[in-house]
């Protein structure tokens, strides 16, 4: 038996040793694991058990989406009426929707026609189809933005993914988008090969560079609430807005969750006391 134990201990050492080798250094000019830099963790109003969206921030984020991102990125799953969650009134949403032209039809005569948007319409896509989007953007279609904040996330690795349970870290998507948008303008390490027509960004999830050029620059979008008109602020606002676009019921979920947790705690306490009472006369 002692021998078995000793060999097990040896096996443990071997396993630990190989794990150390697995985490070997990577060559900065030819990295094999992406992203090169981990996303920066920002503080978001919607994080944590009582998180809520900052409506002013979402409105600014929508402005950035409308004036910059929407030139290339669709947001097919989001209806204008969803924007009530940004604090807009019904009338404001009607006006906002009417600002868009929706291709509809066929009408009674069998013709397709254009009409102003209604709150029930979804954001119209900038390109008629994926092929058109790809050919206009150097061969890679810009991804739809409806779910981007939930569809992106850098692997957290051990042991962080354990801590994330307790800290309720669920902002990997917005953190990633913010880091990517502010991660341009950096000089690649000497010797790194950046493919023609792509742009170096150490925060990009699946390579050294991506097709999208730096989309934001300081002062590009005018804010009327006095917020700083910087790339960093734009990136924060649009990331928060994309989180809303991906998870419009987030506030509802967390509010309901709190009630459920309180109920389970109280109910659990009562049942536990009843259980003690029932078992009181039985040694077990």
């Amino acid at each position: 038996m002692k021998k078995i134990l000793t060999s097990l201990a040896l096996l443990g050492l071997v396993v630990a040793g190989t794990a150390a080798i697995a985490a070997e250094e990577q060559n900065p000019a030819a990295p094999t694991h992406f992203p090169i830099n981990e996303p920066k963790e920002m503080s978001w109003s919607f994080a944590g058990p009582f998180g809520t969206y900052d409506k002013a921030q979402l409105q600014r984020g929508l402005k950035v989406y409308k004036e910059v991102c929407s030139a290339c990125h669709s947001m097919n799953l989001v209806a204008f009426r969803t924007l009530e969650g940004l604090g807009y009134s019904e009338a404001q949403i009607k006006t906002l929707a009417a600002g868009y032209t929706i291709h509809d039809g066929p009408n009674d005569a069998g013709d397709m026609f254009d009409r102003p948007g209604k709150p029930s319409d979804h954001f119209p896509a900038p390109f008629p189809n994926e092929q058109a989007a790809a050919s206009a953007n150097g061969g890679a279609a810009p991804p739809d933005m409806s779910l981007l904040a939930k569809a992106r996330g850098v692997e957290r690795g051990f042991p962080r993914f354990i801590f994330d349970i307790f800290t309720q870290y669920a902002q990997g998507g917005p953190d990633y988008i913010h880091s990517l948008l502010t991660g341009y303008d950096q000089t690649p390490p000497a010797g790194m090969v950046i493919p023609e027509g792509t742009h170096y960004n150490p925060y990009f999830l699946s390579g050294v560079s991506l097709k999208m050029p730096k989309p934001l620059s300081d002062g590009q979008v005018t804010y009327d609430d006095g917020s700083p008109q910087t790339v960093d602020q734009y990136a924060r606002d649009v990331s928060a807005f994309l989180m809303f676009a991906a998870e419009p019921h987030l506030e509802d979920r967390k509010k309901t969750g709190f009630r459920v947790m309180v109920f389970l705690l109280l109910f659990g306490a009562l049942v536990y006391m009843t259980k003690r009472r029932v078992w009181a006369d039985v040694a077990h």
């Binding site: 038996m1 097990l8 096996l11 071997v14 396993v15 190989t18 794990a19 080798i21 697995a22 070997e24 992406f34 058990p49 799953l77 209806a79 969803t82 991804p143 409806s146 779910l147 939930k150 569809a151 992106r152 996330g153 051990f158 994330d164 349970i165 309720q168 669920a170 990997g172 998507g173 699946s206 991906a246 419009p248 019921h249 509802d252 979920r253 967390k254 309901t256 969750g257 709190f258 459920v260 947790m261 389970l264 705690l265 109910f267 659990g268 049942v271 536990y272 009843t274 259980k275 003690r276 029932v278 078992w279 009181a280 006369d281 039985v282 040694a283 077990h284």
Partner: protein
């Protein structure tokens, strides 16, 4: 244990009417009220009840989700998003269902490890154990097909990889794979048959659960000492004793479940599944759901050919073999003592096995390269050694600790100085139940 004659006496006219025609009230009374359970069961024994409510919850949420879901490759992804955005409380139903699958597996793994620790599979409970293994297999099939339905990137590529295993089987492999897929690749026919089967299998699980409970009620529950019930003092009535304890266990479990549903609903999923399936774009790492990861690690650990068996077939054989081990456990374990409480060496190896299973799970989530492959091979070796070497050999050479004569004696020994007397019992620690 339930062999004793029924103690049910119909009290009202309607009960007497039923009892003479179809004694359903008698069955319920005998199974869930008067049914004797060992008095020393700890909270590990509440997971059977927890699993029942998880199955019920999955079926209920699943039926409502199916009312809004469309199993067409062009519409499936958007129909799930429609549920998340526009259906009343759709987000809640969907998160309950997707996280419910994970917590169903959390509960089933605890339930299985409970059985392994306390030797619950030993005679006369072999059939009970095997029925449980069948439920587990059905759950895996259901979970796998359910993950395909949202038609995200991981749905598609997970389905491609897992159905690809079958092509490794000699002679009939390709035929089986095409039968599963309804074609040569994962596509519309695959999605449609997976949806149909995903709706069917839970009801088959419910059927086997009935058999599982039937078998349980014939042989009776095992207990932490592993000693059979010998006298009436060893047991208490199911109601109120087990009912109230199960209820408390369920609420605690639901608390953890709710924590994930409301605060971390996407923690156990993969971001790539929020991108619609694209057959032309392979994700960087294809990872199955967490509850398959240990088996996935075993599959990928076989990187070498063994004689006529190539590495692919070898991996598939090892993966299915890893599950097959569970079915053989009642005959692999040679010890006469059931519970690990009285088996110091088995207890040690049991915990090593738990650690090994967790390590395999982590390795399954890592890329199969470099040192990870070697670690997975060692962990796979230990996995099989636990069943094929440790279990049979340990039973022959291990000297177990002294067993108490009865459950009652064990309980009284534990509550030193105490007795069946109320004063002694209330002072007893609650932790061990």
């Amino acid at each position: 244990m339930s062999e004793g004659h029924s103690t049910y006496t119909p009290k009202t006219g309607i009960e007497r009417w039923f009892d003479a025609r179809m004694p359903l009230p008698r069955l319920i009374y005998d199974s869930f009220v008067a049914y004797p359970v060992p008095r020393n069961l700890n909270y590990m024994w509440t997971f059977g009840g927890i699993l029942s409510i998880m199955l019920a919850s999955q079926i209920l949420t699943g039926i409502v989700l199916a009312m809004h879901y469309t199993s067409d490759t062009n519409l499936a992804f958007d129909s799930v998003e429609k549920i998340m955005r526009d259906v009343n409380s759709g987000w809640l139903l969907r998160y309950l269902h997707s996280n419910g699958a994970s917590f169903f597996f959390v509960a089933v793994y605890i339930h299985i490890f409970r059985g392994l620790f306390y030797g619950s599979y030993k005679a006369p409970r072999e059939l009970l154990w095997i029925l449980g293994c069948i439920i587990y297999l059905l759950m895996m099939a259901t979970g796998f097909m359910g993950y395909v339905l949202p038609w995200g990137q991981m749905s598609f590529w997970g389905a491609t990889v897992i159905t690809g295993f079958f092509s490794a089987i000699p002679l009939v492999g390709n035929w089986i794979q095409q039968l599963l897929l309804g074609g040569f690749a994962v596509d519309d026919p695959t999605l449609n048959r997976f949806f149909a089967l995903h709706y069917l299998l839970p009801f088959m699980i419910a059927g086997v659960v009935v058999l599982h409970i039937w078998a349980l009620h014939v042989v009776g529950q095992s207990n932490p000492t592993g000693i059979e019930v010998k006298s009436k003092t060893d047991t208490v009535a199911f109601t109120p004793y087990a009912t109230i304890k199960d209820a408390f266990g369920m609420i605690v479990f639901l608390f953890f479940f709710a924590y994930f549903v409301f605060y971390l609903p996407n923690y156990l999923g993969h971001p790539d599944n929020y991108t619609v399936a694209n057959p032309l774009k392979t994700p960087a790492h294809i990872v199955p759901e967490w509850y398959f990861l240990p088996f996935y690690a075993i599959l990928r650990a076989i990187t070498f050919n063994i004689g006529p068996i190539n590495s692919k077939l070898g991996g598939v054989l090892c993966m299915f073999g890893a599950i097959a081990m569970l079915f053989l456990v009642p005959w692999l374990d040679t010890s006469k003592v059931r519970s690990a409480v009285y088996r110091p060496w088995y207890k040690l190896f049991f915990w090593l096995f738990v650690a090994d299973a967790i390590l395999l799970g982590w390795l399954g989530s890592q890329p199969a390269e470099g040192a990870y492959v070697f670690m997975a091979q060692m962990a796979t070796l230990f996995y099989f050694a636990f069943f094929l070497v440790v279990m049979p050999v340990l039973g022959l050479i291990e000297t177990p600790r002294r067993l108490p004569n009865s459950i009652t004696e064990a309980v009284l020994e534990k509550n030193k100085g105490g007795s069946g007397h109320p004063a002694g019992a209330t002072a007893a620690p609650e932790t061990k139940g």
